[in-house]
């Protein structure tokens, strides 16, 4: 790898640049730096956000190996110009069969790393991960900690932890930083949700009165972040404080988190506020229960073969079980660096109401 001549523009490859985080990052990268941005995705049904002129869209698949299934000359040209890689591609569905999750998150990342090794002008690379590589660990989980000692709650967490191992290995040769995100819940300014995840599905089930219980503890902290913070913080770290070999937690931390009980209360309050008629449905706040009780309920639904409740429990199960392993993410390293730039995650209760409002008023994105 050699440095690019100062006169040349940067070319930033953003894999997964149309996703929840990727789309926000692409617009910041395209706006903020004198760079060309190349976005690589499979181009599936997801509606494409308006693309700035200095952004080029490529259709490829990281599961196809280091050329991503591109024409070999296109891949070579890309390798020639790339100076930065922001790797956002992931299969973010929590309950995929492990082999499928690995295909995108581990083998797909290996392909991107193999591609990166061939980029002669590569200066830096960011790989996005999740703080939930912590898995079933409880208590404090720090940036230098490697997760999974107590196992994982779902295949997503496990595959991302395996991805980190692969990335850490590649750090010996490549200038890579790992950015571990907490769960993105929506935009703190507008409440808009661009990608529905298990939390939004859980909210919808609660709204429909199909969520009788959640595992966890009333006072257990739930770490959630808004997408604008995730994009702003990771963009800042990547552009201004890039530190090869670092692992950074982009999370709310203890100060920015709320208890599970408070979040459930806020949810019920918001449902009543934004759909006054909902109150008439007399839907109770879900009970917070021990994991054993929750699992017995799930097993009973499975044995009863009740399809509606089965789908409902499956939709949240893979995420909900994480609530039974309360933990706090220590973001000492990233937190200090970001604080210097005046960037901090807001407390979730400052904007949570807006997110629930968006879900209710937009009917979880199905209403125009």
């Amino acid at each position: 790898m050699t440095s690019r001549p100062a006169s040349e523009r940067r070319t930033i490859l953003v894999t997964g640049g149309t996703g929840t985080l990727g789309a926000e990052l692409v617009s910041r990268l395209a706006r903020g730096s004198h760079a060309s941005v190349v976005v690589l995705t499979r181009g599936t049904a997801r509606p494409r956000p308006a693309v700035p002129p200095n952004v080029q869209m490529l259709t490829g698949d990281v599961r196809c190996g280091p050329t991503f299934g591109l024409d070999s000359s296109d891949a070579a040209t890309l390798r020639e110009h790339i100076t930065d890689i922001v790797h956002c591609v992931a299969d973010t569905t929590f309950n995929r069969p492990l082999a499928e999750a690995r295909a995108t998150n581990v083998a797909g990342t290996q392909a991107v790393l193999a591609f990166a090794k061939e980029c002669q002008h590569l200066e830096r690379m960011a790989c996005f991960s999740t703080v939930y590589v912590a898995g079933r660990t409880t208590g404090c989980f720090a940036e230098q900690d490697v997760g999974g000692a107590d196992g994982f709650v779902n295949s997503y967490e496990q595959s991302k932890a395996e991805m980190e191992a692969v990335v850490r290995d590649a750090m010996r040769e490549l200038p890579i930083a790992i950015y571990r995100l907490s769960t993105i819940i929506g935009d703190s300014r507008t409440g808009e949700v661009t990608g529905l995840n298990a939390i939004h599905h859980a909210l919808r089930l609660l709204y429909q009165g199909l969520a009788p219980m959640v595992p966890g503890q009333e006072t257990g902290l739930v770490d959630l972040i808004p997408v604008d913070f995730a994009a702003k913080a990771s963009h800042y770290l990547f552009e201004h404080e890039f530190s090869p070999g670092a692992t950074c937690h982009l999370c709310a931390g203890a100060a920015g988190s709320a208890t599970l009980g408070a979040l459930l209360d806020a949810t019920m309050t918001a449902f009543e506020r934004y759909r006054p008629a909902w109150r008439k449905r007399s839907i109770a706040r879900p009970a917070i229960v021990e994991l054993e009780t929750y699992e017995l309920f799930v097993r009973s639904v499975e044995e009863a073969g009740n399809q509606v409740l089965l789908q409902a429990t499956r939709a949240v199960q893979a995420f909900a079980c994480q609530l039974a392993y309360p933990k706090v993410f220590d973001n000492r390293h990233a937190g200090v660096v970001l604080a210097r730039a005046g960037i901090a995650a807001p407390n979730v209760l400052e904007y949570y109401d807006r997110v629930v409002r968006w879900c209710v008023e937009k009917n979880w994105g199905t209403a125009s």
């Binding site: 009788p212 007399s282 839907i283 109770a284 021990e290 309920f297 009973s300 044995e303 009863a304």
Partner: protein
């Protein structure tokens, strides 16, 4: 403060007790017998020729005779039932799909409680029917009996009776529970020998009145509200779960009780569960059948605090704490 309680109680269960596989063979289950077996059921009690009033009369006759009570002593009869049946007609044979066999509009005015008063010669008793609360109706009659005994000095003995039977040919499986026919009868008095009522509590959520179309929502609604109702009853009684010696259940599935016990943090050993498998879920009388059997088995001692909880369509969650 005057104490009111359940001085004596009896019950009646039909003799016919088909097993789950027999019911399955008869086409009387919605799903496979194995699912209900996994949830803790073994057999149901199924009335053959007896109507719900017949069963109620059996229970009351036994009660009067066991306690050597003269029919004249009864001042008030409260007759509870889940299926809105004001009719006293025999249910067999019923036209397909119908619950009542009405020959005439006037049949609506044939009241079970009046028939019972007449046939058992309870001539000093005024009567009332209590229904529209599913399996929680008997709890309401106990609650109202207590209120009457506290409010009206000339009422000394209240007979609470509850009886229900499913129509012939109806599925015995309702929301993953095995439903039985049966009846119970109780004498309620001031300064009772046993079973003093410490607290009662009921929550109604009429939003779920259309039970048939809201089955999934009802299953989901059951648990969190059951927990708050139990907790609120304990609070009213001024006790905690630790003080409760036995939980005397309604005989919905053992599985759902295990989940509910998990929700309220109650050890499994406190649940009197012996009857769930062998009796099934009688609409009318579970908790009181169980109370009687637990007492007969020598499990209850004077002063023991008992928690009784039930749930009925409507939706109604009802709970009481008794001091045995």
């Amino acid at each position: 403060m005057t104490r009111v309680g359940i001085d004596a109680l009896t019950y009646y269960l039909p003799a016919y007790a088909p097993t789950l596989s027999e019911l399955e063979a008869l086409g009387a289950l919605r799903g496979p017998a194995s699912t209900l077996a996994g949830f803790g059921f073994e057999r149901a009690r199924v009335a053959e020729s007896e109507s719900h009033v017949d069963m109620a009369m059996h229970a009351v006759r036994a009660l009067l005779s066991e306690t050597d009570t003269s029919p004249d002593e009864i001042n008030l009869v409260l007759y509870a039932g889940a299926l809105t049946s004001s009719s006293t007609m025999e249910c067999s044979p019923a036209p397909a799909g119908s619950v009542l066999r009405l020959r005439d509009f006037m049949d609506f005015f044939k009241y079970p409680v009046s028939q019972l008063q007449s046939e058992l010669d309870l001539s000093n008793a005024s009567v009332a029917g209590i229904d529209q609360q599913g399996c929680a109706a008997i709890f309401s009659s106990v609650r109202l009996a207590r209120a009457t005994l506290l409010a009206e000095p000339d009422v000394h003995t209240v007979l609470c009776v509850s009886a229900d039977r499913l129509p012939h040919g109806a599925s015995r499986e309702v929301v993953y529970n095995l439903v039985s026919d049966g009846a119970c009868a109780m004498l309620m008095r001031r300064e009772p020998k046993r079973n003093r009522i410490v607290a009662t509590h009921q929550v109604t959520k009429g939003a779920f009145w259309d039970s048939g179309s809201l089955e999934n929502e009802i299953i989901a609604a059951y648990f969190p509200t059951a927990r708050t109702v139990i907790e609120d009853t304990l609070r009213k009684a001024g006790v905690t779960l630790d003080d409760i010696r036995w939980v005397i259940p309604h005989n919905v599935s053992l599985r759902s009780w295990e989940i509910l016990l998990g929700l309220i943090g109650c050890p499994r050993e406190k649940l009197f569960s012996a009857n769930i498998g062998r009796v099934g879920h009688t609409i009318a009388a579970d908790n009181f059948i169980n109370l009687r059997d637990a007492a007969d088995a020598g499990l209850l001692h004077p002063g023991d605090l008992l928690l009784l909880f039930t749930f009925g369509y409507g939706l109604n969650w009802s709970c009481m704490v008794l001091e045995h």
